[in-house]
Amino acid sequence: MAKRTFKVVNQSVTKLDAIPLALGKPLFVADFKPADALYAKFLWSPHAHAIIKSIDISAAEKMPGVHCVLYHGNVPRIAHTTAGQGYPEPSPYDTFMFDRKVRYVGDRVAAVAAETLEIAEAALKAIRVEYEILKPVLSIEEALQEGSPVIHDEPEARAIIPVPYEPQKNIAAKVGMDVGNVEQAIAGAAYKLDNSYYIHLAQHCPIEPHVALAHVDAEGRLVIRTSTQVPFHARRITAQVLDIPVRMVRVIKPRIGGGFGVKQEVLIEDVVGMMAWRTRRPVFLMYTREEEFVSSRTRHPERIRVRLGADPEGTLTALSMDCISNTGAYGAHALTVVCNSGSKVLPLYRSANVHFTGTAVYTNLPVGGAYRGYGATQAAFAVESAVDEFAETIGIDPLVFRMNHHIRSGETSPVFAALGEGKAGVQQSIGSCGLDKCIKLGAKAIGWKKRGDWRKKKGRYRRGIGMCCLMQGSSIPEIDMGAASLKMNEDGSFNLLMGATDLGTGSDTVLAQIAAEAIGTTSDKILVYSSDTDMTPFDVGAYASSTTYLTGNAVLDAGLKVKKQILSVAAELLEKKPSELEVRDAQVFAKDGSGSVTFQDVALHSLYAANQFQIAAISSNISHKSPPPFAAHFAEVEIDTETGLIRVVKYVAATDCGTAIHPKLAEGQVEGAVMNGICYALTEQYLFNEKGRMTNDSFLNYKIYSMRDKPEMVTILVPTYEKTGPFGAKSVSEIGINGPCPVIANAIYNAVGVRLRETPFTPEKIWRAMQQH
């Protein structure tokens, strides 16, 4: 591969919003709240499963300062999904703005808009509700039992695309695929493995909870400023639920205080929108931390059975995975998350026989949703734990086993074509793959060679080393679309308008770099505006690791079109043909050295002098493949054998994301994802009482890590060049979170000889497992 040199791309320029954010400038939704905004507040269900027999809002409505009370009796009953995905959505239509039935503790019962938060809270207390309590369904096993209570018995619940949907059996989604014959391969295998794993429910914990602000503008249109990853889906779904035309809704996304998938959900926009629509007053709603835990979205827990088979030489011949996902009370992302458990994990290792089933079940627990990793996190824990166990059974170093089997550049997997998102997938062969190098560099950084057998370890504190390999994707092929528009200003700067949604990742900066590189200027000359459904072109939004790869190519194309126009104007000025010119450093030079013009000269000429026109372009991009980023993760842990207390001593993440457009931001994506994954693996978990109520809905007892808890972290970016990506880039945002669960499980085994097949790995669990050992 020829060494490529870039001027703007692959440089860590200053993130364009870093200083304004560090100065505390008003950039977030809550910072725009006008003084006369009404406060909205929800009344939540105290029961996991109940029918609202009667509800009396009259006292609340009469309270001074109360302007609007919404409940199922006074809003349109429109079945929809809150999942912000492509249209038609692969998630079932099983949700209403308000319903007569409540399906988990924290489900919507009613909502109030009032002059102050205190009045709103008092009004909620004045709403009288009588419930008929139903038996709750609180686990995957109960949901699937014959005769179990049916959670979605409403007649409107349906899938709007042709996929299996059996709400009468509490099944929200089903998917599967077979290549070859796994049963036969396992029957004839020299080595076999058959294990079940369970990976738990957790929350994204953006530091900014869900927040939205709505008003009706002077032209009678509904304007919603909201912290969303999906402004265009938010517009579409809000219009749908309010039963008003899409053109009557404008969604503006300011800065977002973290998302991680939880803001890929249209969770509160419908209610603030409806309240503003009815009261004609600005309406503001911000979740409390408790509400963010209970009444937003979570990671789907999954029970996963993995079966492996290998021939006498230790070559994998059968790879089988059966996943049952718990989608909670509503089917948001139910199908696609469990699909991705297969499609983002199974292609990693070559096997002639592959089997996969995915089932998502309804329960009366908090609702699953999109969460960074999106099914791959769950399956990577199961498969990468199983592969480690299997290597030991065969008697081969788990690193070598992975090296022998992982997919390589030029190869394909039948899984790509078989598993899509709600439809068949898209066949693709792997372009760039730097996984070998990731494994080698990671192994060196952790000291893999010094890794000893747990049986030889002595003393109270024992250390162990574990590893795993990972892949993800870059966008959803043949589904996702991102568009960008660029226009030139008088001083040679450019406005870059995109629907792509920077949720803190720095995508605005990355896309500005791509535009600057394409045009031949610097990224500080690119003025980015994202996203506003009135102003910016369409984009599906920030999810599925798509923005850099998908929108990046749209920006690149728009940049090249603009550059062509610049050259045509410069050709007029320099009296040359465009082919005799070249662009460098925001100037156009005649290749023969006879003259040059600046971008400013070009812009002024194009706008004021002769043959005027607006130098501008708009480009759309759809992805035809989803090139996986790859990673190898390693960790060293230390376990106190007397208490089970575990400490991650060192964590190494080596990642191939193609060209890192902005290396520091790419590292930041890996580091943030890894840290989130580490505390997910070790401490984060929902505790429920027997009635299905979460009992630890606060950072006091739902522990996410602070700087004090940070282990030594080594982040290695392994450059490759993905030909289909903008300047060789692939995605990087999700993959990192998939590593810590399997890596730490494998390291625990290497330290003390116990296999934990259920997350999180609390000291108690480790200690108990050691006692039974």
């Binding site: 100065l23 008003p26 530091i207 900014e208 931390r289 930041g668 890894v674 700087m707």
Partner: protein, 160 residues
């Protein structure tokens, strides 16, 4: 407002008077007064996004009743820096690539500033311990950690 009370304190160097409601929390007072740089993330003193400096100490303004700052010196992110006079901590965070979504950043800067002004030679352990109350979900802390140590190191007298 019934039961309002007037308090006065020094806010970012200027003497100010505010009418406050009974039980009003400092973060609410600041934000309704237009100082929206101080963020709300949990309203229960667990995330640190609302951190401000009161008489030189970092405090969480979401659990501090406003009346408690009567006669005291309160500093918010708006008093720390601005375009053209960016504070070294702000610059270091931007330079290190430590600002992702940025929601936790104002509070985190206030915590770091309180520490490094009181203890310019803070040890690594001091930094870790002091910053324990400021949660960030985006960065994994690695680049924040680098930035804060860079500021601390730049504070040290040059060795001959």
């Amino acid at each position: 407002m019934s039961g309002t009370k007037t308090i006065s304190f020094t806010l970012n160097g200027a003497k100010k008077e505010f009418a406050i409601a009974p039980g009003e929390l400092l973060v609410k007072l600041l934000r309704r007064s237009g100082l929206t740089g101080t963020k709300e993330g949990c309203d229960e003193g667990t995330c640190g996004a609302c951190t401000v400096i009161v008489d030189g100490r970092a405090v969480m303004s979401c659990i501090m009743p406003a009346f408690l700052v009567e006669g005291r010196r309160v500093e918010t992110i708006e008093g720390v820096g601005d375009f053209g006079k960016v504070h070294p901590i702000q610059q270091a965070l931007a330079d290190a690539g430590a600002v992702q979504c940025g929601y936790c950043i104002p509070g985190l800067i206030m915590s770091a500033k309180a520490l490094l002004e009181e203890k310019p030679d803070a040890s690594d352990e001091d930094i870790r311990t002091h910053m324990d109350g400021n949660l960030c979900r985006c960065t994994g802390y690695e680049k924040i950690w680098t930035a804060l140590r860079n500021v601390r190191d730049a504070n040290q007298p040059k060795q001959a």
